[in-house]
């Protein structure tokens, strides 16, 4: 009964936080606690409905093939019966969106709760919760969208929230610049996505997901294969930006300027996976175009490795996590590219839990240390902050891929699907990335939580509003992967594109990933804990001098973009402006000057003396009279009267 209601009214899920946003902005803002309660309450209610809707979907197998869609007209142009353009808005519930709906609202609820403690004492407390609510609403809208334009709207709105929240500490210049960078970078990507959507609308005449899926199946009736490839590539540009894929990943690490719950919610667990989700949603498009799939896979695989190498050398705790997010998003893309929607979504699901957990843990650490972010200045925190430390360790085990924690199962699934689809190079890259991941994560954990305490720090365990979400999420990080074990893959039965994946359990891949993860952790242990006194890490950095510096400076990509922006874009702009002032306006002013100068020339005749004027006047009359007298009346009349007789 209630389940049925939740499924038929799934739009309530995004609407509730949207209402919370409005209520906080217009009513509750002066009272901090009330704002927080409104935000958390609405999100918890939304989570409740989302859970019901998800139950509804996951108890009825028919929704796997045939999603539950209800939509209404948003606007249309042209004749009502046969519109030239019609855009619907609606809800599309199927296992993928139900999973996302549940995951987003669940994690958001706990991160909202966490923010109550984390943001204590901030002057923008209520505003923060209003932004969070707006974000929740937009993200849930994105998840539920039945139409690509609707999804694009939500996509941009989450971008807006991300912008507002990265720049939340408005007085910090770094926050301001990071926010701007995030928005503009995503804008560049959205340009591609927008072009893709336009082409889809023009070619197929609709942006409704289900209709598109039907039409693209026999796309030959509408367009050529080349055009479809182009469209797929254009659409993929959007996710490159949003999900921080190379080369548009640069905004994501900088986005850590925002408050930590924001990093956890938006830049780790939910918003950044929107790109992955979009590709998953439009899988029917990519599926038709193998070359686009290759592009997705290669981008993903390369990004995963690329970001992992940078993460090794970083010093700030949130920055390391940010690069690890980029790397993990690369995994998800890789999985999509090799054709396994199931593995990708599975990793998205587990990653949301352990990465949110780790970010919240980092936030807890930062609060305790008064925002001292350098991991080298931490150490031994496990004694003073046991809950934070041990939950963080769980997250570390999960991301490194140690069974039975969540990350192991999903990463294994990705490795296997890469192997099964014959992408051996990508498989090797992914496996090596797994080793790197284990290494840099545990480097951070050993440096921050174990080893010798730094006497300059006086850490304290955080209040319950912050530790409870940590505990809940750590349970998720432990168990979330059990849904998709290779022996009994419940996950793959529900969330898939095409047929459910059936195959023998690949023990070799499993063993390899465990060994690699173990090796990574062991290496980190030797370098940073056991032999920390010998400063071997420092020496290694010196040996690898140039390489180390290149990694530490993120391959100088930021500098390159900055140069591009300053020298080329601004330079061109300056050029255009000068052209405008001196050429276009010069012509305009030149015409004005011409009028003025000719006036100057003619004003000589205006002496201001009446008698001169009279004389000229008289001479004129005389001349006419003479003409009249001697040349017959017609010529004169012609001269004087303009030919009218």
């Amino acid at each position: 009964m209630l389940v049925e209601f939740a499924m038929q009214h799934a739009w309530l899920v995004p609407l509730l936080p949207a209402c919370a946003f409005v209520v906080i902005v217009f009513l509750a803002r002066p009272w901090q606690l009330l704002s927080a309660i409104v935000a958390v309450g609405s999100m918890a209610t939304a989570c409740f409905f989302a859970t019901l809707a998800a139950i509804g979907i996951f108890t009825n197998h028919e929704y796997v093939e045939k999603p539950l869609v209800y939509a209404t007209r948003w606007f249309s142009l042209g004749l009502p019966g046969m519109p030239d353009l019609r855009i619907d808005v609606g809800v599309q519930l199927d296992p993928v969106s139900a999973m996302m709906l549940f995951m987003v609202s669940f994690i958001a609820t706990f991160i909202f709760l966490y923010s109550i403690g984390y943001m204590k004492g901030d002057p923008g407390y209520s505003v923060f919760f209003s932004y969070l609510s707006l974000f929740g609403a937009s993200m849930l809208l994105l998840v539920l969208s039945s139409n690509l334009l609707q999804m694009f709207v939500a996509w941009e709105l989450v971008g807006l929230c991300s912008y507002l929240l990265i720049g939340f500490y408005t007085h910090k210049i770094s926050a301001r610049e990071a926010a701007k960078k995030a928005f503009v970078t995503c804008r560049i990507a959205d340009f591609g996505l927008l072009l893709g959507l336009l082409s889809l609308q023009i070619v197929f005449g609709t942006l409704n997901l289900t209709e598109l899926a039907g039409k693209i199946e026999h796309f030959e009736e509408f367009t050529s294969f080349g055009m479809l490839t182009l469209i797929a590539v254009l659409v993929f540009i959007g996710p490159i930006g949003k999900s921080g894929q190379f080369p548009l990943h640069v905004w994501l690490p900088d986005a850590m300027e925002g408050p930590t719950p924001v990093s956890a919610l938006i830049h780790a667990a939910t918003m950044v996976v929107a790109g992955v989700y979009l590709v998953g949603r439009t899988m029917f498009l990519f599926h038709e175009v193998p070359s686009a799939m290759q592009l997705v896979a290669v981008t993903g695989g390369f990004t995963a490795l690329f970001a992992a190498t940078i993460a090794i050398t970083q010093r700030e705790i949130k920055r390391i996590l940010a690069y690890s997010t980029v790397s993990q998003l690369g995994y998800m893309m890789l999985a999509l590219g090799v054709g396994s929607l199931s593995a990708s979504m599975f990793h998205l699901w587990t990653h949301a839990f352990f990465k949110a957990l780790m970010f919240l843990g980092a936030g807890s650490v930062l609060t305790a240390l008064h925002h001292k972010a350098d991991v080298w200045e931490m150490g031994g925190l496990v004694k003073k902050m046991p809950i934070t430390a041990w939950t963080f360790v769980i997250g570390g085990l999960a991301i490194a891929g140690i069974p039975p924690f969540a990350g192991f199962w999903s990463k294994d699934e990705i490795l296997v699907s890469a192997l099964n689809s014959g992408h051996y190079v990508l498989f090797a890259m992914a496996a090596f990335t797994a080793f790197l991941t284990a290494f840099y994560m545990w480097r951070m954990i050993f440096l921050a939580f174990f080893g010798a305490e730094n006497p300059a720090n006086h850490p304290q365990e955080s209040p319950w509003t912050m530790t409870v979400p940590l505990l809940v999420l750590s349970v998720g990080a432990c168990l979330a992967g059990l849904l998709g074990t290779p022996w009994h893959n419940v996950w793959g039965e529900w969330i898939r594109f095409g047929e459910a994946h059936e195959g023998p359990v690949n023990y070799g891949a499993m063993l390899l990933s465990i060994v690699l993860a173990g090796a990574g952790i062991f290496l980190a242990y030797t370098l940073y804990l056991k032999d920390a006194k010998k400063k071997r890490a420092r020496k290694m950095a010196e040996w690898f001098g140039p390489v180390y510096r290149m990694l530490y400076n993120k391959y100088y990509i930021d500098e390159l973009y900055l140069w591009f922006n300053h020298a080329l874009v601004d330079g061109t702009a300056k050029l255009f402006y000068l052209f405008d002032i001196y050429v276009v306006d010069g012509i305009v002013n030149g015409i004005g000057a011409f009028a003025r100068l000719s006036g100057d020339g003619l004003r000589v005749f205006q002496s201001g003396r009446l008698q001169n004027y009279v004389l000229v006047f008289f001479l004129g009359v005389l001349a006419v009279a003479v003409l009249m007298a001697f040349s017959g009346s017609t010529t004169a009349a012609g001269l004087v009267l303009g030919g009218v007789k």
């Binding site: 948003w74 249309s76 042209g78 334009l149 007085h171 503009v184 804008r187």
Partner: protein, 506 residues
């Protein structure tokens, strides 16, 4: 005869202006209130008209004076009527006019004269949108120019250029534009009268007669009109009055000018030039598209190089109008809808932008971006308004300007392909300059010299509330706007299509 609602809308500000003339000049508060009431009456009535217009029937409604000869020998009648294209524009004018009164709440230099002129300005703009007679249209248009000149020169501000220069440039540019227009109109009138024998200046009459003109005649007539309307809508390369003019003008004039006056150009292009001379439009459409795209990219780049807030928005409005021209050049249902809707959206957005900049200037006495920073801390409500306008400017979905731009993109991409891509790329540059201006003005470390600033409050909030509401509501319920525009565009497009079919058979 029904209540002449259009006439009432038109005359309410005139009545206010008349009353103002008899109010003692010291009674500042009374003066403002009278102006506010005058514009409010218009706004309320135009909202009423907007929502009682019957979209099912479409066509001209609220007709007034179609059989009331004004100049019999020229076939001029005082013909007022509204359709799905003029009603959004009328509503826009009133929204902005009402807000402009409140944006000028702190004018203390001769407020009586200021508001009288403002009322006349609003009346003139409204008149152009509801006139259904070409002569009356031109008449109202000329009415507009004079108050603007006086207002810029007396209440304007001098920065890069003096206000006298700005006012002069603005006025002369627009007058030259309207001179071309006038020649076009007279030629059209003479030619059509020669064909039909009975002089008729009404849009419908002219349009019907103009279909018998030869394609050659239509082509050069359209060129004249394009010059006239093009310089009014600041089509590249006739745009250079726009940034200077806005920078020199007082807030209210910038709002009305960027918000609605510019749109007279687009409105005229669609409802006069395109409607009457479809064959000419067909010939010029590719050129218009090129000019539109150049305008988009060029002005966006220009805006990127600006350091004065008003110049940023000035260039940005040139850039946005480029989209409108591009859309008109598409000449299909989607494009025309997008053109009109984008004019509405840009009007609301630009007016909000200019009103916020006006307040910033009033409070900080500077518009120079490097001199500002961190205002979000000191004046949060101002910052909200600014960011709202900025986000609308970069076409954020959920605000009114996104869907119009999207429809324009569809139509342009469909019709002009690669050329349109250049135009669409404008959204990136737009994001860059708008965010840069916003970030450097509002964010960053607060400056101590602005600590004493008062946030906008009381009447100053009206522009933000009114225009902000429209931005958001229009963004989430685009059908409110599009159903109306569509009801006006459909018959117009049908007429154009018929003419083009016929033209093809010749």
């Amino acid at each position: 005869m029904d209540f002449p609602i259009l006439l009432a809308i038109l005359l309410a500000p005139v009545a206010a202006a008349l009353i103002l003339a008899f109010v003692p000049r010291e009674e500042h508060m009374l003066i403002r209130c009278i102006a506010a009431v005058g514009t409010f009456v218009s706004l309320a009535l135009s909202l009423f008209a907007y929502f009682t217009y019957n979209q099912e029937i479409g066509g001209l409604q609220f007709v007034f004076g179609n059989n009331m000869p004004w100049i019999k020998d020229l076939g001029v009648t005082f013909f007022l009527a509204a359709d799905g294209i003029s009603l959004p524009m009328l509503l826009l004018t009133n929204l902005i006019g009402f807000s402009a009164v409140f944006a000028s709440w702190n004018v203390n230099n001769r407020p009586r004269e200021f508001f009288i002129l403002l009322m006349l300005l609003i009346t003139g703009v409204m008149g152009t949108f509801i006139a259904h007679d070409l002569f009356i249209f031109l008449l109202f248009y000329e009415v507009v120019v004079i108050p603007i000149y006086i207002m810029v020169v007396i209440w304007g501000s001098s920065k890069r250029v003096t206000k006298e220069y700005a006012g002069m440039k603005l006025t002369i540019y627009l007058l030259i534009g309207s001179a071309f227009l006038l020649v076009g109109v007279i030629a059209l009138f003479v030619k059509t009268t020669a064909i039909t024998g009975t002089p008729d200046m009404s849009f419908t009459g002219l349009a019907a007669a103009a279909q018998q003109l030869s394609p050659f005649d239509q082509t050069w007539l359209f060129a004249l009109m394009l010059l006239g309307f093009g310089s009014l809508i600041s089509m590249w390369p006739f745009h250079s009055w726009s940034p200077d003019g806005y920078a020199g003008a007082p807030t209210a004039v910038s709002m009305i000018h960027a918000g609605v006056l510019k749109k007279i150009g687009g409105y005229g292009l669609v409802k006069i030039a395109l409607y009457m001379l479809p064959l000419g439009a067909k010939f010029w459409a590719p050129y218009m598209a090129v000019f539109g795209v150049i305008g988009v990219a060029y002005a966006a780049m220009g805006a990127l190089a600006q350091k004065d807030l008003k110049y940023v928005v000035g260039y940005s409005s040139v850039s946005h109008m480029g989209y409108v021209i591009l859309a008109v050049a598409c000449m299909d249902v989607i494009g025309l809808n997008g053109a009109v809707a984008n004019m509405f959206a840009h009007g609301v957005m630009a007016a909000l932008f200019f009103s916020m900049i006006g307040f910033i200037y009033e409070k900080t006495h500077t518009r120079w971006i490097p001199d500002m920073g961190g205002l979000a801390r000191q004046t949060p409500r101002l910052a909200v308004g600014f960011m709202l306008a900025a986000m609308a400017s970069l076409g954020l979905p959920g605000l009114v300007s996104f869907i119009p731009e999207f429809t324009i993109f569809i139509s342009a991409f469909n019709n002009y392909g690669g050329l349109a891509v250049v135009g669409i790329a404008g959204i990136i540059i737009t994001a860059l300059y708008v965010l840069r201006a916003g970030a450097n003005t509002l964010f960053g470390p607060p400056r101590p010299e602005y600590d004493h600033l008062q946030d906008i409050k009381g009447p100053e909030l009206v522009p933000l509330v009114v225009l902000g509401t429209v931005l958001v509501v229009g963004g989430f319920l685009p059908s409110l706007l599009f159903d109306m525009i569509n009801s006006g565009v459909m018959p117009l497009h049908a007429a154009i299509n018929d003419a083009l079919q016929l033209g093809g058979n010749f």
